[in-house]
Amino acid sequence: MPNFSIGLSGIQVSQRALELIGANIANAGTEGYHRQDLTIVPMVGSSADNDVTGAEVSTVRRAIDQLTENQLLRQQTLSGQTNEELSTLQLIESSFGDVSANRLAGSLEDFFGALRQLAAQPNSPALQEQVIAAGQSLGAQFRDASAFLRNAQEDVRLQAEDMVRQVNTLTGEIADINAQIGPAEAGGAIAGALRDRRGQCMTELAALVDIQSSGTTEAGADQRLYAWDIPIVAGMNDKAIQVGLDENMDLGLSAGDYDNYIGSYRGGKLGAMLSLANDLLPGLADKLDALAGQVITEVNRLHVQGVGTGGSFSELVGQAVGSGAVSDLACDVTAGDFYVRVTDASGLCVRTRISVDPATDTVADVVARLNAVSNLSANIADSCVRVSADVGYTFDFVPALPASVDGGTIGASAVQITGLYSGSDNQEYTFTVAGAGTIGVTEGLSLEVHNEAGELVQTFNIGRGYASGDKLTLSNGIEIALGAGTVADGDEGTCLALANSDTSGFLAAAGLNVFFTGSSAQTIGVREDLAEDPSLLAGSVGQGQDQQNIQRLAEVGQAKLNALGGVTCSDYFTNMVTNLGQEVATRQVRQTALDSVTQQLENQRSTISGVDVNEQTIQLTIYQRMFQSMARFLNIQDQTMQYLTDIIS
């Protein structure tokens, strides 16, 4: 008997196949689409000989390789982080300028170069102006760079918030799809479209965060997803995450229900944001601040010790520092001393040592000590330290040598001290007479010079052969001249030679006679009254008649600073910028490698899951022929039946 059911099954199978091929070709260009293949199995009859009674579609399968899919998701996470870090770091690298036209490096060289030139003509108003202008330019470059980094940090925070919104949207969508997958696959069918859509969401999610799944990513409605260790999807439920600041003020992520922000997550674009916000950008900002801080500290440390061409001061007003603990000042203060010198109209100087201990002192304590100095007034007004001298007096903090030894004489000999001390430490020298007699007359009379440790530094003949009043020069630049007179064995005088008249750093921290104001790249600037009157530039450590301080300031540019790791300011900045360049270059290489791997994985996925139109066309031809054949088969069956009917009738 003719069997119509065989033909019917064949037509049904070919129709289903043609539908799937149509759907595959229609989605050949659809992102994330997985080709669907059907499995055809023969229909077996119920008779004992198991005759094949047709064909049927056994399964419709999504062409998917789970390992490849998982690898691609992981690549998305790695790529997302690298891409985001790269683009931000490239932006910052560009902000520092070209290699050959680096603005901040140029400004550093300009500033110290201007100081160097001023050392040649310390009283030149034009060169003084040049130093001020170079200082202002340097300050502006620091502030610009700092502002750029701060803005970048703010942009990162805003981007992180936006990304968190994207994550939450995607997790919501995944949860919705999970809710639909259950019913759709209840009858054993594969909800391919839903799964593809969910896979696409997960791909986008993986680019944002490092996603972890409790099972395979192809799980059904019971899928559980985590962003790092934060649960974000539990089957049909999604859990929002939020961005905020942790206890260290670092940017962090937390599950929506808790305020437990963690900033150490890495991976994906959001991980890149945390890395940029908490490590990379603050690291750069810290380095920039360290550099600016050192420039401020080193320049101010010397500038406070000098005077301008106008000589000593009648009044100085510092920066706003308040009256609180010295240890709270923006610039570091260490336990030490500073020396204030008060000079009367006749030129007589009295030097007073003020001790500072940041462990116990407040600014008010130190100001009170200054105020106790004769002919000097000091107070805190509007949070600023103000120091003024009585009428007829001036003051300064210069490390100039005293005019004579303590007491003015050694024995009956009037002593004059001149010169510029070139030693590196503060030292009290003692000048002791060996022998007794008349200076310039007595044979064998000598003057011994001892340092604080009691070591003999030098011995001079002051007896016959020494012309009283002639200068005796120590190897460290101190000159001593003894007047005529008699001396006894053991007569002595002392002289304090200062290399640094503020070992505590208090004057710089208080902003008294500083060059730069501020304490970081964000706040650095040239002192306002100095900018208006460049003659206040403290180039001298005497009475405005030497340029030693200008030289000392200029040498800062070439000095290898311990606080910067033993390199110069310029080298530190060069290292900082080239390290940034190295970070960018490393990410570029990593990005290229990741792109290459991603490309290979996508090719692999495309091979497994993609739609080859030619292949589908061949399939189309096969099933079309199958359909035609089965139709012909039915036609023959029908004709056969007709013959049989005709015979019967």
Partner: protein
Amino acid sequence: MSWGAIFSNTVTAIQRQTDALTRLQEQVSSGNRINRPSDDPVDASRIMNLLGQDQTLDSYLKNISTVTTDLDQGATTLQHISDLLTNAKGLLTQAASGTYSTTQRELVGEQINEILEEVVASINQESLGRYVFSGASNTTAPYLVERSGDRIVSATYQGSYQKMPVPVAPGVAQSGVSVGAEIFGCDERRSPTFLGSTGAAGGSGTSSVRGDAWLSITHEETTLTQTSGMPTTLAVGASSASLDTILGDHTVSIDADAQTVRLDGGPAVSYTALDTDLKVSNADGDCVYLDMSQLTAGISGLVEVAVHASARLSIDDGQSSILATFQDNQMVTDSRDGRVLCVNTTGLTRVGVEAVRVGGTYDLLGTLIRARDLLNGNQDTGDSDVSSLLIEETQSLEEVMSGVMGGLTSLGARAQGLENLRQSITSIQGNAKDRASELQGADIATIAAELARVQTFYEMILTSSSKIMNMSLLDYLR
């Protein structure tokens, strides 16, 4: 192969080649292989260091130029002064020959005065807002001159004794300015020479006066003590305090029988009891005034009386003085500057003014002033003394000329050293620039070849993609 994979591969390949083309195009347009540190961090670091070095060296070169200008200015001035001094020395040599009349000497004095004015003007010449002989105080004229009428009577160095080292290379500093007191003064102190006849000599101590000093030795008081003969009284005359010229120990011999009196065995001077202020001189012309009316009446024979005349010493024109103690070292202080002259006063015999010369301590302007004053007769000296003193001043002038020439040589040596340094720094700077340019610069030939290669790949990708995507089985199915 799926269409998606074909598209994806094509897009990726095109992007890669486009990136390469963009980078090459940037290199061509900028001329640089490295524009940002990430292009080549290691070479970028080198380039930045080299460019920084270039900028630093530039500031050193500017300083070398400034210092060289100062040195040149100083050398020009010193050469001019040297010429003037040669002229002055010639004039002094002629004037010291003893053939010039007072008028002729005064004319030479005027010429010396003009030279002095020109020397002062040259030393105090300001150049580009700086004084090159004031040491570190280069905004202050080196010498402050004091005038009496229109004449310079003194010149005091008011500059700094410190030089002004200017950084001219890493760790190297050179001063363009000089300390005028060092160049125009000598500091090779020798023992003082006393040019006079008072009997004063150099003491055993070390004098600190500089240049020439005038030691004024005046009479203070004469005391008499009888040493032999009949007991006698004798007193000094009324003019003794002011007019006695003897100093130290002398002897008055009275021949009572002959009614004569002698000083140190000198010429006998007759006396009477009415002589109350009798001038008695010795063979050297030194005198003492005696009151013979006090002589004891009725004496006879030879009576000898010891005479001691005390003295006062001064080296500051009488502003301060001390009593002579007739010792081998007496320190006379100049109250104006505290400097000391050590005098051996044991041989003092008469009052007078000693010209004291301290060789090796002369200063240029002081020497010219003294020479002019000598020629103009401003010093209390006779013609023969003027000649000898002028010879001395000529020697002083030679000393200071030697200092000036030494200064000139020193400036020349410093200028030459700086020129060598300038050439060295310029060479280093050139090398740094070349090296930076070499590291940073793009090799156009290499870029052109690379550009052609990338362009070829780009076209190949487009062509192959086009062919692959054009092929379809559908074209063959009918």
